[in-house]
Amino acid sequence: MTNDITELKRVSSQVRRDIVRMVHGCQSGHPGGSLGCTDFLVALYFSVMKHQPVPFDMDGKGQDLFFLSNGHISPVFYSVLAHSGYFDKAELGTFRKLNSRLQGHPTTHEGLPGVRIASGSLGQGLSVGIGAALAKKLNGDDALVYTLHGDGELQEGQIWEAMMFAAHNKVDNLIATVDYNGQQIDGPTSKVLSLGDLHAKWAAFGWDVLETQGNVMEALLATLTEAKSRTGQGKPVVILMHTEMGYGVDFMMGSHKWHGVAPNDAQLAQALAQLEETLGDY
């Protein structure tokens, strides 16, 4: 665990290399959202969360837990789990291939350490996070539960059921986060189905709402620290993270077009030239 910004940025650079290489390696997957959420997941796993990769314990008693609700950004999740020590990074090369534990979308079914719920069908992870948070309260476990959601994912109705429940039941050991990049498969969320005033909506549902720059490590750490300080006060906490889909690879940024498209050989080379190899490629 570290608060060293330089070190965290070095991890982010390697994770981004892994993402584009993994997606290129199987010519499928979702690089855009993965790149946009890299800084957040690195901050969470390398600085913020109290967690024990080995031996992996599904119940995670005494540990902070993370649930990836927008399961399609599995490349960033897998890379961060591997570099955190949950499994050997060599396994990243099996992503989306036959007989792999690294399924297209995360699953517990193949026994991959670090994954506690299957996700991919959107909108379910907030409910799961609430359940895990309630179990922690029943167990007298003061560790926290984190969830991550795409902003497009918030169009799913179950999210709003869960938002209502968490506030009503004062699930205040839960920090939800939103990848607020304004993009989804068919285009900008503002055109597909506008989220409106998202900050006001979460607040109206009874949540303590924070916003941050999701691709600025210093801002992320400060906001996550602030979010932790606001737990235990009767309200669930949400962080709206303003991110850019494809962040870190110039030609993938600023568009929804790299949501679920793999780079070709030339594009891979172009991407890797922008991302320093810091921890060794898998």
């Binding site: 837990l65 079914h109 719920i117 996700s119 379910q124 996070g129 359940g131 179990a135 059921e161």
Partner: protein, 319 residues
């Protein structure tokens, strides 16, 4: 025909309520959730005994399934309670991904299944739930027949690790099984031994099968009646042993004939011992409003229809 009598009638959902309370006493990891149907699901006694282990989620079944999945992470054994329709069709994807595919130890407890929900009509009378649930890999599917068996099943599933669908109903029905029975998941219960025809019944249809067996006995037909309370895993051994003896089959269930017990039995027979089979089930239609008795008669699920089906099965065997 073995004589079955009863002194009392109760609803199977009350058996669930009693079983949930007992499971809660036996294991403090048992927790319960309900989507605004505490009275209908008979969960109040559990809530009174263990208020901190109960979660009212409101009318939000999808969220309830997700929360239940999350509660297992931390060692809890969640029992969800709502009507069968809202326990399955409404939340199929949540069960599929967050519970079944995620291997979570959630007990999905579903009341008001089938036609006997009665006057509320087809919007609430789900007849497809057994099929949906049995198709999920790893899911155990149980449909007990009376108050005592539902109570015993509820206690038993708390001790079973893995996702379970427990189906029960609304109306009062005779209590004819042992109050102290040991409920063994996946183990069929021999109701009556016979040689002429095998009647495999589940849920409320077990009592109807007993009434049919008595009628058949009066006519000199010796029916074997087996209670298949566990649809999955199916007791193939008991089914095949019976059919090897009788040579023909009636399956009886309060469910669409597509995808329920009948199809599970047919699959076993097709592979191991082809035999004439008659279905007592709803003939691929929705239900409608009416009293439970009226509906069971109109849709061909009562003992009279089982008698006719048994004779038809026997006739086909003799060709």
């Amino acid at each position: 025909m073995k004589k079955y009598t009863y002194t009392d009638k109760k609803d199977t959902r009350s058996g669930f309520g009693a079983g949930l309370l007992e499971a809660g006493k036996q294991n403090d990891q048992v927790v319960a959730l309900c989507a605004d149907l505490v009275g209908s699901l008979k969960m109040q006694d559990f809530i009174n005994a263990f208020p901190e282990r109960f979660f009212q989620v409101g009318i939000a079944e999808a969220n309830m399934m997700g929360i239940a999945a999350g509660l297992t992470i931390g060692g809890k054994i969640p029992f969800t309670g709502t009507f069968a329709n809202f326990s399955t069709g409404r939340v199929y994807d949540q069960i599929r991904q967050s519970i079944a595919y995620s291997d979570k130890n959630v007990k999905i407890c579903a009341s008001h299944a089938g036609l006997t929900l009665g006057e509320d009509g087809a919007t609430h009378q789900i007849l497809e739930d057994l099929g949906m649930m049995k198709m999920l890999p790893g899911m155990t599917v149980i449909n007990p027949c009376d108050y005592n068996q539902t109570k015993a099943a509820t206690i038993a599933i708390a001790k079973h690790h893995g996702p379970v669908y427990l189906r029960f109903g609304r109306p009062v029905v005779p209590i004819f099984t042992d109050p102290d029975q040991k409920f063994e998941i996946g183990k069929a219960w021999m109701v009556n031994e016979g040689k002429a025809v095998s009647i495999f019944a589940t849920g409320h249809l077990v009592w109807e099968a007993i009434l049919a067996g008595e009628q058949l006995a009066e006519e000199g037909i010796d029916a074997e009646i087996i209670n298949i309370h566990t649809i999955k895993p199916l007791d193939e051994e008991a089914i095949l042993a019976s059919v090897r003896k009788t040579g023909c089959v009636v399956t009886a269930e309060e469910h669409n004939r597509l995808g329920g017990l009948g199809d599970s039995v047919a699959q076993v027979l097709a592979k191991h011992y082809p035999a004439p089979q008659e279905y007592i089930a709803v003939n691929d239609s929705f239900g409608e409003s009416g009293t439970p008795e009226q509906l069971m008669t109109k849709y061909g699920l009562d003992s009279k229809h089982i008698v006719i089906a048994a004779k038809n099965a026997i006739a086909r065997k003799q060709k």
